[in-house]
């Protein structure tokens, strides 16, 4: 326990000293929050605030998970920082757990802040299922951090890692309904969005905020996020490498697909049942 607490404490201190963390975790998502709130005319239609809020939170979750956890883990390996840990009696588990907890602690104040801003500035009603919303976002954040850690585990170099992160980041950003309104999507893109993990995060948050759904209503998405976390942590631990010289074979990159498997299965199920997960009703004024 001493090891876990020390690692979490130091990770939090280090994060608070990095300007990039402040900029990418708070300032950038907040900028988008205000810009999109203005662009989408939230003051005329407070329902659209749900969309803006979801977009802003999803941007933060993706950045925190894929870049914050994934790229940082890669950097630590490339800079020979993990090599120093390797000579101590610790295993990768405390390092991965500390990364998850730190990401959550850093991100949750932002969630509380944007919900308050949405309420006080743009008159969005308080979400009826606020505890469910916070728990759902927390589960989502941890799941996306675990995807980031799997990417860090399978990438041999920073260049490879950056490519893999971008390959996950942009489809999740644009095809999940987080940034581009799903109402603009042709049918085939809506089907594709069924296979995108971020779609379930976006849709789950919108369901909780718009229709007062709770974790039980969205249980399949909650389970998929939790399974992704478990698979991610297991794969991340199994493939964890302390040194940049320890290379992994190319086929190991398929573990990223394994980490995303719960969403691929969910996407297949939804498509087979003829469901479209992404919501198109928000702009249907």
């Amino acid at each position: 326990m001493k090891t876990y607490l020390s690692l979490i404490t130091i990770d939090l201190k280090l994060a608070s000293r990095l300007r990039t963390v402040i900029v990418f975790t708070y300032i950038f998502p907040l900028m988008f929050f205000f810009i999109f709130a203005t662009v989408f005319g939230v003051r005329q239609n407070p329902k659209v605030m749900t969309y803006v809020l979801t977009m802003s939170i999803t941007l933060g979750v993706l950045a925190n998970g894929l870049f914050g956890a994934g790229i940082r883990a890669l950097q630590e390996r490339e800079l020979n920082i993990l090599r120093r840990y390797k000579v101590t009696p610790i295993t990768p588990v405390p390092l991965l757990v500390a990364s998850m907890v730190t990401g959550w602690v850093i991100f949750m104040p932002y969630i509380v802040l944007v919900i308050c801003l949405a309420h006080f500035i743009y008159h969005m009603p308080w979400p009826v299922q606020l505890p469910s919303l916070l728990v759902f976002i927390s589960i989502g954040l941890i799941a996306f951090r675990s995807i980031g850690l799997v990417i860090a585990s399978v990438a041999n170099t920073m260049q490879e890692g950056t490519i893999l992160v971008q390959l996950c980041y942009f489809p999740m950003l644009f095809l999940s309904g987080a940034t581009l309104p799903a109402i603009m999507f042709p049918h085939f893109l809506r089907v594709i969005s069924n296979f995108i993990p971020a779609t379930y995060l976006v849709s789950g948050m919108q369901g909780i905020m718009l229709r007062s759904e709770d974790l039980v209503t969205d249980w399949r998405w909650v389970v998929a996020l939790i399974v992704t976390t478990l698979v991610g942590v297991t794969v991340g631990t199994k493939l964890f490498r302390w040194e940049k010289e320890e290379k992994i074979r190319g086929s190991a990159k398929l573990w990223v697909v394994v980490a995303l498997l719960p969403f691929l299965l969910l996407g297949l199920w939804q498509s087979y049942a003829g469901h479209i997960v992404i919501r198109t009703d928000i702009f249907g004024r």
Partner: protein, 309 residues
């Protein structure tokens, strides 16, 4: 295995694919000694040491460190040893004292960070970020981290490489302190003078094998290379008939005849006789140099290569 052996290695092998980095080596390290592993880059030093530290699996043979198998009992072993690696880093924004507190929390026992900061002369830098420390301060911090669990066995992998002479001297003093505290130290280096000064025993490695092992003095004595006596006189010796001094194997004069070089198997005796002869001849002495064979000479003699090739 010797009863006071802290490390015992038998027929140790390590391969990376088709490349055999360590080709069946045997040695023991006794409690309280500084054991040096000397060799050029690619000799297999780091592979050997990293196997003993529990960082890499071996391909064959047997190894015991503090009674543990470094491959199967690596966590227990890592809890008991201190390691200063050749190329490591810490996060740029971690403070020196925070790093010591953090790493101390990983072990079942640890020394207070305050004590280590004082000992390694880093107290003034305790609140400095890692990125602001000089190369020497970073290396001292690396050594402090290696001591954080108060280990009885330390592995120092090229601890002075790339450091300026003053810092190197400080680190040499620290190793001597560790030795006086009866800690066992395994030191890899390619600095000859470092091995000669600090090590009780040295194993010289080349191409994955130990080519010779013993105390620095034993190795120097094993050398066929003789000590070189060089004297400079005030007047040329060209016109003088030089005698055959005892144990001298080769004698030569340089161009102007004032510098005489004599190779000897027993330099003290030869030098004494030379001084006596010069005195008898009334020749005045300007300078004297005596150079014993170094570990480098031993290495060159055995392998035909230079240590830093």
């Amino acid at each position: 295995m010797n009863s006071d052996a802290v490390i015992a290695v038998q027929d140790l092998r390590k391969s990376y694919g088709q490349v055999e980095a360590v080709k069946g080596i045997d040695f023991e390290v006794r409690a309280g000694e500084v054991f040096g592993i000397l060799g050029p880059n690619g000799a297999g030093k780091t592979s050997t040491v990293e196997i003993l530290e529990g960082l890499r699996p071996r391909t064959g043979g047997d190894a015991r460190v503090l009674g543990y198998d470094p491959e199967r009992q690596k966590q227990q072993l890592k809890d008991r040893i201190g390691v200063c690696l050749q190329a490591t880093n810490l996060p740029a924004k971690i403070r020196a004292q925070e790093a010591l507190d953090l790493f101390g929390s990983f072990y079942s026992r640890s020394i207070s960070s305050e004590k280590l900061l004082h000992r390694l002369q880093l107290w003034e830098k305790r609140s400095a970020f890692y990125e602001t420390l000089s190369g020497g301060q970073k290396q001292r911090l690396a050594l402090a981290l290696a001591l954080v669990n108060d280990p009885q066995l330390l592995f120092l992998d090229e601890p002075t490489t790339g450091l300026d002479p003053q810092i190197r001297l400080e680190i040499h003093n620290l190793v001597e302190e560790l030795k006086s505290e009866k800690r066992t130290v395994v030191l890899t280096t390619h600095y000859i003078e470092e091995a000669e000064r600090l090590c009780d025993r040295v194993a010289i490695m080349d191409e994955g094998k130990i080519v010779t092992m013993g105390t620095p003095r034993e190795l120097q004595q094993k050398s066929r290379e003789q000590s070189r006596i060089q004297i400079v006189t005030t007047q040329p010796l060209n016109a003088v008939q030089l005698p055959q001094w005892p144990d001298a194997v080769q004698t030569s004069l340089d161009g102007d005849g004032r510098q005489l070089t004599v190779y000897s198997t027993r330099p003290a005796r030869t030098l004494f006789e030379m001084m006596r002869w010069l005195d008898q001849q009334g020749i005045q002495l300007e300078d004297v140099h005596l150079k014993r064979p170094t570990l480098e000479d031993v290495f060159v003699e055995i392998t035909g290569k230079k240590l830093r090739e």
